[in-house]
């Protein structure tokens, strides 16, 4: 009995335990994804009553405005991630390295608190604050900062504002986690070796926090790439993004095949980006190896150093 139990817990049989998760992923993610992919390349000929393979919808996307919409969404996601990063890093840094313990807990709580409400509710809150009769509009008009005819809603800035306010915690938390966990002795060692605060930040703190930054960028970029509620509510009909186009294709115009093709391309884009990042890392690693090779050659050329 004991032996059997131990066998189950060995590495070889660990796949038994991962089965439910894999099965779940397979049924609810990979299979629908495969259906989506099939949908985008197979069409039905009503005359012959036959299914046939086609690249029509992809051609359609690449030769029309759709591809521009995808790139526009990509840009919005990138801007959101960048703005989030710029705001989140100082906040996370302060929280992790400077603030007192009680203050820290309070700040962290107030950061996470808005995420307890649904994203849609958050966006509606912004909507009511920014609309013509909303508090912010009223206040800015009352102080004569904006004219009564000026609209706060339905512009790019407001979309970014909404996106950033909703996704900011997802950037702050991973960076905070990494900085908090970082051994403070590295800072002491750096100072001891002659680095001032700025040099310590540049050479130790920031490089060591990069895993958190990458995680934050992923957590913000991916959902904001497919986000459709925020641009729709805060941007009005003026701005069309990838997410809202897909919603439109599936729910309103009922052109599921075009929607499927749009979804596939949109999903491929971040994956392509990730491949680029990995490629870049591989190249950098090779560059490093070449550098250390050069260094070895330098040593060989200066044999007297070896004695």
């Amino acid at each position: 009995m004991k032996k059997a139990l131990r066998a189950i817990f060995t590495q070889e049989s660990s796949f038994v335990f991962s089965c439910p998760a894999v099965l779940w992923q397979f049924v609810f993610l990979y299979m629908p994804f495969a259906v989506l992919a099939l949908y985008s390349v197979i069409d039905f000929n009503e005359v012959t009553g036959r299914y046939f393979l086609t690249a029509f919808y992809y051609r359609e996307i690449f030769t029309s405005l759709y591809i521009q919409i995808i790139f526009r969404s990509f840009l919005l996601a990138a801007i959101t991630a960048a703005v989030c990063f710029l705001i989140a890093y100082p906040v996370a840094y302060f929280l992790a390295l400077k603030g007192s313990k009680r203050f820290k807990t309070f700040l962290l709580f107030s950061l996470i608190f808005p995420s307890w409400t649904s994203l849609i509710v958050q966006v509606y809150a912004w909507f009511f604050l920014l609309e013509k009769n909303g508090f912010i509009s009223w206040f800015l008009q009352w102080t004569h900062i904006i004219s009564p005819s000026f609209h706060l809603l339905n512009n790019y800035f407001t979309i970014v504002l909404g996106m950033v306010s909703c996704f900011l915690p997802f950037m702050i938390l991973p960076i905070y986690a990494v900085l908090e966990k970082m051994d403070k002795r590295f800072l002491e060692a750096s100072a001891d070796l002659g680095a001032d605060r700025f040099e310590t930040f540049r050479r130790v703190v920031f490089p060591m926090s990069l895993p958190g930054v990458y995680a934050g960028i992923m957590l913000v970029f991916i959902p904001s790439f497919g986000e459709f509620a925020i641009p729709t509510l805060l941007g009005g009909s003026k701005y069309v993004f990838w997410g809202s186009v897909i919603v439109d294709k599936f729910l309103r115009s009922r052109s599921w095949r075009l929607g499927a093709a749009l979804a596939i391309i949109g999903i491929m884009l971040p994956i392509l980006l990730m491949c680029c990042v990995y490629l870049g890392r591989a190249i950098r690693e090779r560059y490093r190896q070449r550098q250390s090779k050069e260094y070895t050659e330098y040593l060989n050329a200066n044999k007297d150093l070896w004695g």
Binding site: S190, D192, S292, Y295, L299
Partner: protein
Amino acid sequence: MKSIRLERVSKSYDGELIIDNLNLEIKAGDFFALLGPSGCGKTTVLRLIAGLETVDAGRIFLGDQEITHVPIHERKINTVFQQYALFPHLTVFENVAYSLRVRKMAAETINARVAEVLKMVRLSGFEGKYPRSLSGGQQQRVALARALVAEPEVLLLDEPLAALDLKLKEEMLTELNQLQDKLKTTFVYVTHDQFEALTVSDQMAIMNPQGDIEQQGTPKQIYEFPVSRFVANFVGNTNIIEGRLHISDRDYQVEVEGLGMFSVYTPTEKLWMIPGCRLLMSVRPEKVLISKKPREGFSNSLQGKVVDIIYYGRSTQYRVRLKNGQNLIVFEQNEEHFPQESIDWDDEVHVHFQKENVVLLEH
């Protein structure tokens, strides 16, 4: 190579006074060991010298220059940290080059200096490796190289060998000693391990749990002539016997209850040594001879019964119960395979020691 001087330095954390009015002078070029039990504040002293902490009161000098308020990154003092604190995201080369990069030195100079110092700690060829892939001893040497590459006036070592096993520790001690001989940099070595301190240092200071320095001197002075019960007990093993002093015509004797009179000797007379005063005798276990038959030529001979034997390989420790019930610890070198007389548990034995080997301590 410069000296370090602490003048009336005080430091407290959270209202608790760790260092109170401490004076300490470390000569230039010394290998200085600061020895004390855990939590006595010796690491605090090191952090004050490094600049990782600021003093509440008092002054710190590096050579003739006062550095009390010089920020840490401007002090020409480097530290080897207890757990090394090597930067995990940098290679061995970049770790060692760190202080040179921060000072914006030319790449050529950096290459040459890093190569030189890595060769010195016998790590040439490890430049491209990351700290996590190195063994404890190698990490230790990277930490050493990183601290030495900037050519500090003073090198601080905070329990640098605590994480290494005994064999490696002994090796590293020898290496540290040779390195210091070559560089002549002032080394300040903080440890709670009396063996490390005795082995490695030219000069050492003993800190008591209250954060005061009880004695400062060469390892030999401290081991042979401890000035207090704390020092005698903390550095090495010792037997402490309580008694009352008798002085007759420059002859010192100590009367111990139940054991009679002991002949003792003191190289220097202290103020507290007045006839009739209570005092402590400290006798190192290895200075006591144990035998089954009585021996001639010893100032002090006693009888007792063996209650405990521990075999250490190169020596054997006997615990002998004396007539007054006190236990005396005796070390015997195991010089021969088959000693003339084997001593066993419960054997009646004689123990002898010379009066010159007794150190008198204030009660």
